[in-house]
Amino acid sequence: MEPILELKNLEVNFNTLDGVVHAVNDVSYSVKEGKTLGIVGESGCGKSVSVLSIMRLIQEPPGKIKKGKIYYRGQDLLKLSEEEMEHIRGAEIGMVFQDPMTYLNPVLTIGKQISESLVVHKGMTYQEADEITKELLNVVGIPNPTDRMKDYPHQFSGGMRQRVMIAMALSCNPRLLIADEPTTALDVTIQAQIVELTKSLQENLGMAVIWITHDLGVVADLADDVVVMYAGYVVEEADVFTIYENPQHPYTNFLLKSLPRIDNTRRSERLATIPGFPPDGITVMPGCPLMPRCKFAVERCNHENPPLREIAPGHKIACWVEISTGKER
């Protein structure tokens, strides 16, 4: 299937007082039409920066997209003018953020905020847009939309605000929805509601989704393909079943083993841990970024950073070592 979005060798830096932060290094991934791509990784691994680059929302300066290409339906987004980009944002690609309260305007009613993108992108009047807004609020499960659209963001609960954000992102029927940690700030029962909502919307509207999270449980539930990131690099990429059942990168392995499971019926044992903590992105070492924390590391990892290579059809990893044998691949 032709991918709807393709990132090629993206590199993003930030100039800070402490030095240049290499937030995203040589990252390539693609999203298939109508499918869900899950991006997992710890904070600071570059997962949000990579999708903000897709939307061209990286503030320059201090940020800078150094190189790479982002193809959206064959068109390189990085080459578009700001004006052309405005037709993509919101209309073609919708985005949902982690903390809805920071992204909703507190002094506008939510009805007005949802209608705005319809007025801008579809050239409707506010009266026309109101009808669609009502429908959208209904679709995302907000009861009594006619009255609720006159309310302000503070009158909604966290889960409801996230639903409003989703309604805004969906307003122009985007082909791609980017969700950046949409459920991290929510309770599990509300998270379950939002995950179910996204799944049913995707089924009905046939859009592609990028879902960013650090929760491996949520990704297992809704992703078709998974990208695991560490220190600004993609370290493993495969379909969701391969990632969870046959992870080949040491980092993915560590992550899955360090998670306790709610359906765990064995007696509690110690959790596997990864010693140390992630690098800061400023000091760049010549070798593999995981090397200081990796128990499989061999001599080669010290001085050569492994590229992302395909080890089986559709399964790519960036590691020199075969973890089952402990030897170099």
Binding site: E42, G158, Q193, G217, F254, P260, I274, F277
Partner: protein, 326 residues
């Protein structure tokens, strides 16, 4: 479990925060019932998990136990002493035996103090040690939490989140307490760091014979670390049972929904699981629903649930539930 000694007994604990109106002449117009009639025991050497969604009163329960909030009603008995009628001075003498670890280690450490000052402050308050003895103790504590004692004179901003949480733990251990309330100690940390801290807490419990009240919303982690688990909903305890009993055979409909909502990091298992999706959000604790507080969202609710508050009863040995239909 019952043959063990009870370390802490909480009986009918209530904490209401007043809602006031008016600027000059404030009058009470209502109360947020953050904790409403909560009772449980904590046995020596065990870990009791306290779980629930945000705003359900977990943290308030923890703080009220330590008398950081004055309870509205009810008793807290710690090792035979009733804490609720102690004066602040008497309370201070007991505090060294109970400590707390907070969620955000950066916010709970003074940014202008070296970590040595932060860790030794409880020693200063509770034990009159000489400077040299204090420094020795700080180094010993840092070693206990697996940090290099070389770091003593550094400031909080020089550490990562996981290291700061270790420092928070070292400070809590400074006075050799018996009982520690861990208030979401891992929620602010990255996945790979969470496991390190949880293992450390377990090691310390084994070494020092600590008793924990572990407040969390991560139900998978709670299953890993706790011996018994209490589930809170809107200021009350809905269910309390031994860990495996609660996870394998939850009796309260809220517990059932909560457990079914937790995603499993295994695509086949999580996709084949039957989920109970609760509708709506938890109501406000300022105006809780009549009868059973869960009834507006409960799939099993009957007329009885709407009118009468279910009592907290022992349906199976050591398995307590507050539900008419269970």
């Amino acid at each position: 479990m019952n043959n063990q000694n009870v370390l802490l007994e909480v009986k009918g604990l209530k904490k209401y925060f007043p809602i006031t109106k008016g600027i000059l002449f404030q009058r009470e117009v209502g109360a947020v019932k953050a904790v409403d009639n909560v009772s449980f025991n904590i046995y020596e050497g065990e870990t009791l998990g306290l779980v629930g969604e945000s705003g359900c009163g977990k943290t308030t329960t923890g703080r009220t136990i330590l008398q950081l909030y004055k309870p509205t009603d009810g008793q807290v008995v710690f090792a035979g002493d009733n804490l609720t009628n102690k004066t602040p001075k008497e309370m201070r003498k007991l505090r060294y035996r109970m400590q707390m670890i907070f969620q955000d280690p950066m916010a709970s450490l003074n940014p202008r103090w070296t970590i040595s000052t932060s860790i030794s402050e409880p020693l200063q308050v509770h034990q009159n040690l000489k400077n040299k003895e204090k420094l020795e103790r700080v180094e010993q504590l840092l070693e206990l939490v697996q940090l290099n004692s070389y770091y003593v004179n550094r400031y909080p901003h020089e550490f990562s989140g996981g290291q700061l949480q270790r420092i928070g733990i070292a400070r809590a251990l400074a006075t050799s307490p018996d009982f520690i309330i861990c208030d979401e100690p891992i929620s602010a940390l990255d996945v790979s760091i969470q496991a390190q801290i949880v293992n450390l807490l377990e090691d310390l419990q084994g070494e020092l014979g600590l008793t924990y009240l572990f407040i969390a919303h991560d139900l998978s982690m709670v299953r890993h670390i706790c011996d018994r688990v209490a589930v809170m909903y809107l200021g009350i305890i809905a269910e309390l049972a031994d860990r495996d009993d609660l996870y394998n055979d939850p009796l309260h409909p809220y517990t059932q929904a909560l457990l079914s909502a937790v995603p499993i990091p295994d695509p086949r298992a999580t996709r084949s699981r039957k989920r109970i999706i609760l509708e709506g959000d938890p109501p406000s604790p300022a105006d809780p629903p009549s009868g059973c507080r869960f009834h507006p969202r409960c799939p099993l609710a009957t007329d009885q649930c709407k009118q009468e508050t279910p009592e907290f009863r022992e349906l199976k040995p050591n398995h307590w539930v507050a539900c008419w239909e269970a």
